[in-house]
Amino acid sequence: MAKEKTNYQKYEQKLEPKRPVLKNCIKAFIIGGLICVFGQLISTIYMYFFDFTEQTVGNPTVATLIFITMLLTGFGVYDKIAQFAGAGTAVPVTGFGNAVISAAIEHRTEGFVQGVGGNMFKLAGSVILFGVFSAFIIALIKTIFSYWS
């Protein structure tokens, strides 16, 4: 396909509503921020009441957030919050949880192995792949720099 915009595309663009980018960014900032504050609250409670340190509290906090996401996704609430929050619910770990859980729910009609197992990471798979890959590159850069300095 030609990359250049056709006359119709230019004409259509003038008539279609503009996406409210600034408004979406503000909403994402507030909701995403609130999720982070909530995560911090969980961390603080875990450190205060249980035997966790600042280094070890990360995993149970993430697990708790994902558990809550699972409930919200299963009861059909998460997608409604996401329509309002956009990137605010997609970027934190809750977004990752929702991508995995929604795919798992969706494909249970095709069985547990090929359905749930085969499709669970359909959306989140690329996050894992590029997450691990970028971590590897960063680690490589860090190693090289610490070797030279």
Binding site: E12, E16, P17, T73, A82, T89, I101
Partner: protein, 335 residues
């Protein structure tokens, strides 16, 4: 009989003797709930998967249409139907239960009028006594195929649309009581290079414009001939673009008689973004809502222009543009 380039005018205009329209729970809260024959209380329709539920909708709508006309299945010569799901399996599976000789159709959301046009041709030319035709869609089945899992949290833009859960069926016969199908214009595929699958109204508007213009030219009529010209699922923005295309081409259409099925199914407070879509959208509005209005003589002549976006998730990912089509059928009260 062929009139002009792409229009059939029917010498013996077939009659729509009965219809069957079914919907889901969200449609029950909608704007034209009174015009449905049956609602299901959940998206599963007592089936194990959304796809099976989809088939169930089609079977139920067929049964209702046949029952209303008091015509048994074995009297129906052909079943012409389609939907959105891969290889139109919900329709195929429903046809397995119906056991009526079957032609599967696909024009995406324009399937309803493709079916009515072909059925009317069959009946008018004496190639069938009865033809059962319609189109169906299921919101959750379509969402999971075309977009994301239903519970996945993605933010949709204002131009996106809501796929109707439902099925609309019409029984077309040689004679009987009811509005008649007088002509049909078969559209050609129009692709203006639009690529956004969340803005199908904008992509389909030129196809609707092309087919309506072709219809006017072929039949040698203009907009004043019809009481209502109604498009399938251009929704809020697509409808405005289509109206603008007519004004730009020195053929303005009166805004009050140019409506869209996608804007009639749901109430304003139901969050469906730009409006409804899906093959069932034009089918339930035409066979449920509009036929009733014709029978009450609120309209005498209407032109239904079902619009379809012929894309697949694969073509979207491969950065192909969206080819679109529109088929127009005129339904009139003849005395």
């Amino acid at each position: 009989m062929l009139q002009g380039k792409a229009t059939w005018t029917f010498k013996n205009p077939p009659v729509i003797v009965s219809t069957g329209t079914v919907g889901g729970p969200f449609e029950e809260q909608g704007n034209i709930a009174d015009d449905f024959d049956l609602f299901f209380s959940d998206q599963w329709m007592e089936e194990k998967s959304f796809e099976q539920a989809h088939s169930h909708l089609i079977e139920e709508a067929s049964t209702i249409a046949l029952k209303k006309a008091n015509v048994s299945k074995d009297k129906v010569n052909f079943f012409l139907h389609g939907d959105l799901i891969n290889q139109i399996t919900p329709t195929n599976f429903a046809a397995r239960e119906l056991k009526i000789p079957y032609l599967g159709l696909f024009s995406a959301c324009a399937t309803s009028m493709e079916g009515l046009a072909i059925s009317s041709l069959f009946v008018s030319e004496g190639n069938a006594d009865y033809a059962l035709t319609g189109a169906a869609s299921h919101n959750s089945a379509a969402e999971r195929q075309f977009r994301y899992p239903t519970e996945y949290g993605s933010q949709k833009p204002d131009t996106s649309q809501w796929t109707v859960t439902g099925a609309g069926m019409a029984l077309v016969a040689k004679d009987g009581e009811g509005p008649r199908v007088t002509s049909a214009t078969i559209g050609k595929v129009i692709d203006e290079g639009m690529t956004d699958p969340f803005n199908m109204g904008g992509a389909m508007a030129p196809a609707a414009f092309d087919t309506i213009t072709q219809h006017f030219n072929d039949r040698n009529v203009d907009e004043t001939y019809y009481d209502l010209i109604i498009t399938g699922d251009l929704a809020k923005y697509g409808r405005l673009i289509c109206l603008d295309l007519f004004s730009k081409n020195q053929r303005p259409i009166d805004e009050s008689k140019f409506k869209d099925c996608g804007l009639m199914v749901y109430k304003d407070d139901q969050s469906v973004f730009a409006g409804a879509s899906g093959p069932a959208c034009s089918a339930i509005v035409t066979y449920g809502h509009l036929l009733k209005k014709l029978m009450k003589n609120e309209y005498q002549r209407i032109l239904v222009v079902a619009t379809g976006a012929l894309l697949s998730p694969l073509t979207v990912q491969q950065k192909q543009s969206i080819p679109c089509i529109a088929h127009a059928v005129s339904i009139e009260n003849l005395s």
